[in-house]
Amino acid sequence: MAKPRELRRRIKSVQSTRKITKTMELVATSKLKRAQDRVVATRPYAAALAEVIGDLYAPELAERFPLLRQPRVPGVGRVALVVITANRGLCGAFNANLIREARRRIEQLEGDGAAVDLHLIGKKGITYFKFAKRPVASQRTDVGDKPKPEHAAEVMDPLMTQFASGALDAVEVVFAQFKSAISTPPTTLRILPVAPPRAAAGGSGRQQAVNYILKPSAEAILEQLLPLYVRNQMYRALVETAAAFLGAQRTAMKNATDNAGDIIELLQRTYNRARQAQITQELAEIVGGAEALKG
């Protein structure tokens, strides 16, 4: 049996671990609340933009807009894959899941004969692909917990230019979809070519748009709005991943706190037993000594 002093030391060590994980849990919870609000706040803009683009879109326009150009042969060509991970760990399998999804997608694309450019956002993904010795087209770590639309624009604008010029055939992003604080499945989303959002219910969009006074023209409006839509998709991927990370971290830290509590309980019980055994033994020795003096 372990010495009582040894046990005391371990109890103290686990207690301070629990204090740290508990604090991290609380911090993640409070940040998560605000991150969740940010996810919700992006929805009206995205919905309004999608609706108008859906209304204005017509299949015959697809050839006129570079951003709508569908690849001639699916799967062949050059694909940019943007992989979003967190900058920090201590969040369970969150980053590992994102990296696994990214690897799955890379294998799939390369299996189809496409060349894949990797664009990494977040330290964890960068570390992994450096370890895997895979060449990377770009990387950045400055996005953090509060992504801004400017971040998304900086990531997407060069890719949009490359796509429009024909150097890229598709742009996809791997991110954590924020369904709820506990459900954050890693997801691959194709941003370019733009999949036109479905026209609002009630007639194919074109007819609805005809009733509108359009200035300057449907084409010109579409040309201006498509890049906004593309940037917004990237922005939402960043915001959702940031919120999902905090959700994953909170869950991981809650589990760690609970486990530390279990360990403390177990150690405390062992310690009490050891202490009691020591007292019993000392008593027996005293009684034995007294008996010996009597005799």
Binding site: A48, P149, K215, A220, Q224, L228
Partner: protein, 84 residues
Amino acid sequence: MHVTVVSPVQAVFDGVADAVVAPAYDGLVGILPRHAAFLTLLGTGKLTLRQGATTTRLQVSGGFLQVVQGGDTVRIVADRVDQS
């Protein structure tokens, strides 16, 4: 009429206004209730929402303005919105 102003980050304004003056791509447009269905690109400039004696001013840039059919709902979806 009901007016909403949204930016990529959040819904900035959601309420009622008697008149809207917005910076379209080629100059200011004024929207009053019962305007025809209308969709225009926005430029950069000051958006003014007037409700009785109170006026709300916002700096907007990019995006579009939409008067929904019926003319009693106006949506302003801007790439950038700043309080001014």
